[in-house]
Point group: C2
Chain length 302, copies 2
Amino acid sequence: MADPIYWTIAQELREQIEGGDLGPGDQLPTELELRRTYNASRNTIRDAVKWLTTRGLVQTKPGQGTFVAQQFKPFVTTLSADRDTGLGGGEGYGAFAEVSERGLTPSASVPRVEVLIAPSYIAERLRIAEGTQVITRRQERFINKMPWSVQITAYPMELIQKGAVDLLMAQDIPGGAVAYLQRTLGLEEVGHRDRILVRAPGQDEARFFKLPDDGRVSVVSVIRTGYRDSDEGPIPFRATFTVFPADRNQFVTNSGTFPRELARAASDQYYTAPTDGEDGELDGPDGAAEADGSQPEDSGAG
Amino acid sequence: MADPIYWTIAQELREQIEGGDLGPGDQLPTELELRRTYNASRNTIRDAVKWLTTRGLVQTKPGQGTFVAQQFKPFVTTLSADRDTGLGGGEGYGAFAEVSERGLTPSASVPRVEVLIAPSYIAERLRIAEGTQVITRRQERFINKMPWSVQITAYPMELIQKGAVDLLMAQDIPGGAVAYLQRTLGLEEVGHRDRILVRAPGQDEARFFKLPDDGRVSVVSVIRTGYRDSDEGPIPFRATFTVFPADRNQFVTNSGTFPRELARAASDQYYTAPTDGEDGELDGPDGAAEADGSQPEDSGAG
DNA sequence: GCAAATTTGTTCGTATGTATT
DNA sequence: CAATACATACGAACAAATTTG
């Protein structure tokens, strides 16, 4: 009887959810009912439910009840560009084509264009002096009306002076801004560099993505720096910051040659990762059970 | 006075932490002290502290107190391979070279080799029949004795029959297994495909990485399928599953040409992502404040 | 539109158990 | 062993949100 009561109750409820007795959207018994069922105080019941909500298994709605959380079929974004089609690459335009093929309906907000003094995180990416002016284009994207990503791209001001005036238009650029720069200025993106990190959502992000306000669900931040050629080698000409909720997105990058049929439609093959078993008995990459006492040995690239 | 008391207290403590009044490792006032300070009941104080722990800001230790959480300087893994050096690619060997250059001491467990009937998630990756035998090599990696990643690679059994017998040895393969297959069988990895996803850690993973047992901190799962050439085009010959704790890792992928000086030492330029401000006043990619009522408009690739 | 019933959210109080120093 | 500090558990009351009559 070493296990806390609230924990035991939480496990029983978890098994009912994962076992399928309670499907997504179903209502759990109310606190009063649970209290009778388990012969525990209301606070103990609430601790058990709290355990479930913290893990995202259930969702409580004041005045209504507690419900089993819906889970999304994750959407897959291909980060590496497809050399042939030029699509993919996690850009809005290419990714949207993938979405359409999957029978989902993508949509996007009207771009919000801003000219601002480059803050440090933009200046560093574009390798310009902090305080230089930059253009930023901000767009929110949706899949089936569900918020999917927020993207901000920053360009140096000189691109406007050279003639890429559409960057200042608060409207979609057909084919994407990179293609536009190519055909307008002959500016070619010869390469890019993505940085991927996982962090807690900010308050506004949590609100936009309708994430629980306790920071349980992370967001994936993809920071892309696009490079063009110059006499001194590749130099950055754009920095794109895209934020995705981690609970409904996966990412793919390709390198070298690989089966062609995988190049597109990554979205269709979403993947459920093997997890080591909650009960330590599943078949996944398991076996760290003895990890506590084991000491690492030096080996390899020492 | 619309805000709950526990929330208000939590915000005050958060500001003290983020403002630097309380540094990493510092002890918070005890529950009893906080109770006097804020003139609230112990349960209310505990709710406030719970709010902080859920977000990973503080850590409670029974019998000792509550402490401001340490935060790691994230380690950066380059996922895309460097064509020149052949390093990088998130593989143990290449990544370890990066770590060494940074002045950290990497180490790894002795590989655990297993021959097993391929479960579905491996069979799908290697495109073999479920139930076929595969070799798996499992290794735990550490940086400065801190658990950093768990990696499992699966190979089809036929590689052994063709002569790559070292795959069965429970010891490090100098230069990595891919290089070994190259020089032993002439098997070249012509490309690979990474799938990146974020999920809650399993129980064993949480224990190994010393993550809080409530699933707050996610893990990043990187699934790499390596391809070799054949008459029928590229076919997979290995599947590598690597799991990293999301709170101390970032990832980089390169594509096309980009500045050479960024190819290596990605670890040195870790990146703090811009977040929209908790108080809605920071300079980051902000402005979703009005998101609640805004309707998406159809545009772009519709 | 209003009132009642239902359900979760917050806050207080108190007691006991467990881990650490 | 004793003191300290967090963990669990009970009970009670009122507030806020939602649905229903």
